[in-house]
C-alpha cells in the first residue's frame, strides 16, 4: 500500500523516466557519509572517490553528498531525499545503511544503489561493494612480525564481524610466519570511530607489553597514544587505517592500509552513463587498486620492507592469496589443506580464529 502510493507519486512527478532520457543531463551521483569528511579516515577516503569521479567525467556528472548521516531512522529519509532530488546512482558508504538502502531501492526502481561493505541485495537495483582489506593486513602483519620485540602484537577490533575477523586472522598468520613466538592481543572497541575509546584500548595494550598496534577503527587516537608512549621512552609501532595518517610518519606509523574507492566509483558511474549498470557484489583488492599500502617508512628494517614489498607485488599480480593452506582453525581442526586457497564464501562469513590465537570471539 505504502509502496504503491509512493511509486504512483514518483511516477506522477516524472521521476521514473529512464536515466538516459535526456543525453544532455548530467548523471547525478549521490553519496551518503557516516561521518564528517574531515575525519581523516573512512569518510574522507569515500569523498576522495567522489572527487575522482568529478575529475574523470567533468560536466557529464553532478555529485551531491550528505555528511554525518546516522545509521538509524534518519538514514532512510536522507537516501529518499537524494533519490527524490534526482540522483541516478547513490552510494551509501557504511554497513549500517543496509536496511535503509534496500527499503529506498524498493521505491525507486530506476535509481541505482550501491551499498558499501554490506550483503543485502533484495532488489535488482541494489549492488554491494567491499574491498579485500585482509590483503593489506597480510602486509602489515608481516611488518609487525619483524618489528615486535615483546612478541605481542595488538589488534583494536571494531565489531566481531567477518571483515574484522579476516583482518585479525590475516595479520596473525603473517606475523607468525616471520616470528613463530608472536602472540595476538585483541581488544574490542565496539565502535568505528570514537577517539576516546580507541585511545583507551591502545594505552591498555601498551601497558600489557604490546609493541605493535594494528587498528580496525578509523581515528588517529591510537597513533597519538603510541606517539605519547614513545615520547616517554616506549617503542611502539602503528599502521594507518583507511587513510594514510601521514602526520604520524615516520614513527609510530610505519605503513598504512589505504582504501582507494576511486577506481570503483569511476567504473560504476561510467556504467550508469553508458547504460550498462547491472547488479553485482564487488570485492576488489590490491589487483584492482582498491587496497593500497601507504609509504613504508625507514623506521622498519630494510629486510622487513623488502619482504612487505615482495608480498604486495605477489598479491597484486594474483600470485599469492593471504589465506593459503595449511591453516587450522583455533580448535585445531583443519581448515585449508596444503596449498588450498580460501573461497570467498567462507571468507565473507568468517566467524572463527585460526590456530594460535587465544581468546573467544564475543557472541
Amino acid at each position: 500500500m505504502k509502496l504503491t502510493t509512493l511509486l504512483a507519486g514518483a511516477m506522477a512527478l516524472g521521476l521514473s523516466t529512464p536515466v538516459l532520457a535526456d543525453a544532455h543531463d548530467p548523471v547525478k551521483v549521490g553519496f551518503i557519509y557516516v561521518g564528517p569528511i574531515g575525519d581523516g579516515g573512512w569518510t574522507y577516503q569515500h569523498d576522495q572517490g567522489r572527487l575522482a569521479v568529478e575529475a574523470e567525467y567533468g560536466d557529464k556528472v553532478e555529485t551531491v553528498f550528505q555528511e554525518s548521516v546516522p545509521e538509524g531512522a534518519d538514514a532512510e529519509r536522507a537516501i529518499t531525499q537524494m533519490a527524490l532530488g534526482g540522483a541516478d546512482i547513490i552510494f551509501t558508504t557504511s554497513f549500517g545503511y543496509g536496511e535503509a538502502t534496500n527499503a529506498v531501492a524498493a521505491k525507486f526502481p530506476d535509481v541505482k544503489f550501491e551499498h558499501a561493505t554490506g550483503f543485502m541485495r533484495e532488489y535488482p537495483n541494489v549492488s554491494t561493494y567491499d574491498a579485500r582489506f585482509y590483503e593489506g593486513r597480510a602486509v602489515t602483519g608481516t611488518l609487525a612480525g619483524y618489528l615486535t620485540e615483546t612478541n605481542k602484537i595488538g589488534y583494536i577490533g571494531s565489531f566481531p564481524i567477518p571483515e574484522v575477523i579476516q583482518g585479525i586472522n590475516a595479520s596473525y598468520l603473517h606475523a607468525k610466519k616471520i616470528n613463530p613466538d608472536v602472540e595476538m592481543v585483541v581488544t574490542w572497541a565496539y565502535t568505528w570511530f570514537d577517539p576516546a575509546k580507541e585511545a583507551d584500548a591502545a594505552r591498555a595494550m601498551i601497558d600489557q607489553g604490546v609493541d605493535v598496534i594494528l587498528q580496525h577503527t578509523d581515528s588517529t587516537a591510537p597513533q597519538a597514544a603510541a606517539q605519547e608512549a614513545n615520547e616517554n621512552g616506549g617503542r611502539v609501532f602503528t599502521f594507518g587505517q583507511a587513510s594514510d595518517m601521514a602526520q604520524f610518519k615516520p614513527s609510530p606509523r610505519v605503513a598504512s592500509i589505504i582504501d582507494d574507492w576511486a577506481p570503483y566509483y569511476i567504473e560504476r558511474v561510467g556504467a550508469v552513463i553508458d547504460g550498462t549498470w547491472e547488479q553485482q557484489a564487488s570485492w576488489g583488492g590490491m589487483p584492482e587498486g582498491e587496497v593500497v599500502i601507504g609509504e613504508i617508512t625507514d623506521a622498519v628494517p630494510a629486510e622487513a620492507k623488502a619482504a612487505a614489498e615482495e608480498m604486495i607485488a605477489a598479491i597484486t599480480a594474483g600470485e599469492y592469496h593471504p589465506f593459503t593452506g595449511p591453516i587450522n582453525k583455533q580448535d585445531g581442526t583443519p581448515w585449508l589443506a596444503d596449498g588450498e586457497v580460501a573461497d570467498d564464501g567462507t571468507l565473507a562469513g568468517m566467524d572463527f580464529y585460526v590456530e594460535g590465537i587465544s581468546g573467544d570471539i564475543p557472541n
Binding site: 545509521e71 536522507a78 529518499t80
Partner: protein, 360 residues
C-alpha cells in the same frame, strides 16, 4: 544607555510573539551565515522552511515532519508538566532508550509468533520501562533528597551503555553473522509500528502524541492535578500550605514524563528505526527539552514547536544534501533558533529603556 527594567508581570504579548520573532531573526542571521559560506541565502532558507511543506516533494516530506515531530511532542508534553511544577527531568533521553529496549525485548521474546497481542504487549513494556527508569531519580529524591536533574541526567549514560550491550549482545540478531543490532521489527508484522495511512507518515506514535496533547491540555486547565502542578511551580510554599502532596507530585511528574518518553522510544524502535542498534539514541530526549520551552510549556504550543523543530531537521537535511551545505552549518542554524528565543524571551520579563534611569 540601554537598560532593562523588570516588568511587574510578564508581558503576554511578548511571551506569545517571541518564538515568531526568534524564527525571523534566525532566518536573517542564518541567511547571512549561508551567504558567508557562498550559498544563495534565499534558496537555503526556502529549502529549509518552504520546500518540505509546499515544495515539489511535500507529499513525502510532510509525512516525515510527523515522523520526526511525534517523539519530540510526546516527550516534551510530559517534560513540560514537570517543568511547570519545578520538577526537572533532564534524563528523558535515558527513559526513551530504556523504553525502546524493554519494548523491543518484550516483543523479541516471542519471535517469530504472529499473535496480535505482541504489539500491545510491547507498548505496555515500553511505557513501563520508561516509567521505572524515571522512578530511580524520583525515589532517590524523595528518600535521600538527591537532585533529580543530576540523577536523571547521569542515568542517560547508564542507559546508553545498556543500549550498546543490548545491540551487540543480548538482543543481537542471531542471523546477522556477528553484526550488531537486533532483528528488524519493521519486517515482522506482529511487532511493527507501520504507517497507518499510506503516505501520511502517521504511525501509532503520532496517534499517541495527539492523545497525550489533548489529555495534558485538559488536565492542565480543568483538573485538580493541573492546578496543583501550576501552584507548586508558581508558589512552592503556598502549595505546601495548601495541602499539595509534594511526594505525590514528584512521582506523578517524573513517572508520567518517563512513561511518555518510554512510549516514544518504543514507537520509534518498532517503526522508523526498526531495530535496536548502537546508534538508536538520536537525542530526541534532549531536543524535547528545547521543544518544551519553545512551546512555552503549553501542550498546544509544544505541538507547534515540535513541528517547527522537525522542519529544521528535515529541511536542514535537504539543504545539506542539495545545496552542499556542511552538516555543521545546519547544527549552527538550529542553535541560532534557541539562542534568539532565549534572547527575545528577555523582553517578556523586562522592558527596554533607553536613557539614564534611577538605580533601584
Amino acid at each position: 544607555m540601554i537598560r532593562l527594567e523588570r516588568r511587574p508581570t510578564p508581558s503576554r504579548v511578548w511571551a506569545a510573539a517571541s518564538p515568531l520573532v526568534a524564527v525571523a531573526l534566525t532566518m536573517v542571521a542564518g541567511g547571512l551565515m549561508f551567504a558567508a559560506l557562498g550559498k544563495d541565502p534565499f534558496e537555503a532558507i526556502r529549502t529549509i522552511f518552504w520546500d518540505p511543506v509546499f515544495g515539489e516533494f511535500a507529499w513525502y516530506f510532510r509525512g516525515q515532519l510527523l515522523v520526526k515531530a511525534a517523539p519530540l511532542i510526546l516527550i516534551a508534553v510530559g517534560l513540560a508538566m514537570g517543568f511547570r511544577a519545578g520538577i526537572w527531568n533532564i534524563g528523558a533521553e535515558g527513559q526513551y532508550i530504556v523504553g525502546a529496549i524493554c519494548g523491543a525485548a518484550a516483543g523479541l521474546a516471542f519471535y517469530p509468533s504472529e499473535s496480535w497481542l505482541i504489539f500491545p504487549l510491547m507498548v505496555i513494556a515500553g511505557a513501563l520501562g520508561g516509567f521505572l527508569w524515571a522512578m530511580i531519580p524520583a525515589l532517590l529524591k524523595l528518600r535521600f533528597g538527591t537532585n533529580e536533574i543530576l540523577v536523571s541526567l547521569m542515568l542517560v549514560y547508564v542507559a546508553e551503555n545498556l543500549l550498546a550491550s543490548a545491540a551487540v549482545n543480548w538482543l543481537r540478531n542471531p542471523d546477522a553473522v556477528g553484526f550488531p543490532g537486533s532483528r528488524n521489527l519493521g519486517r515482522w508484522e506482529a511487532a511493527s509500528n507501520p504507517e497507518l495511512i499510506a503516505g501520511t507518515g502517521a504511525h501509532w506514535g503520532v496517534v499517541a502524541a495527539v492523545i497525550a496533547v489533548i489529555f495534558a491540555q485538559i488536565m492542565m486547565t480543568r483538573h485538580l492535578m493541573g492546578f496543583q502542578i501550576r501552584l507548586a511551580g508558581a508558589a512552592p510554599r503556598a502549595a505546601r500550605f495548601g495541602g499539595v502532596n509534594t511526594a505525590r507530585l514528584v512521582i506523578f511528574c517524573l513517572g508520567l514524563s518517563g512513561m511518555l518518553a518510554g512510549l516514544a522510544g518504543l514507537f520509534e524502535v518498532a517503526g522508523p528505526a526498526g531495530q535496536i542498534s548502537i546508534d538508536f539514541a538520536s537525542g530526541y530526549g534532549f531536543t524535547a527539552i528545547i521543544v518544551a520551552f519553545l512551546g512555552r510549556l503549553n501542550p498546544l504550543g509544544i505541538v507547534a514547536a515540535g513541528l517547527l523543530m522537525a522542519l529544521t531537521y528535515v529541511g536542514g537535511e535537504a539543504a545539506a544534501a542539495n545545496l552542499g551545505l556542511p552538516g555543521a552549518a545546519i547544527s549552527a542554524f538550529q542553535g541560532m533558533l534557541l539562542f534568539f528565543l532565549l534572547a527575545v524571551d528577555v523582553l517578556s520579563n523586562f522592558r527596554v529603556r533607553v536613557g539614564r534611569g534611577v538605580v533601584a
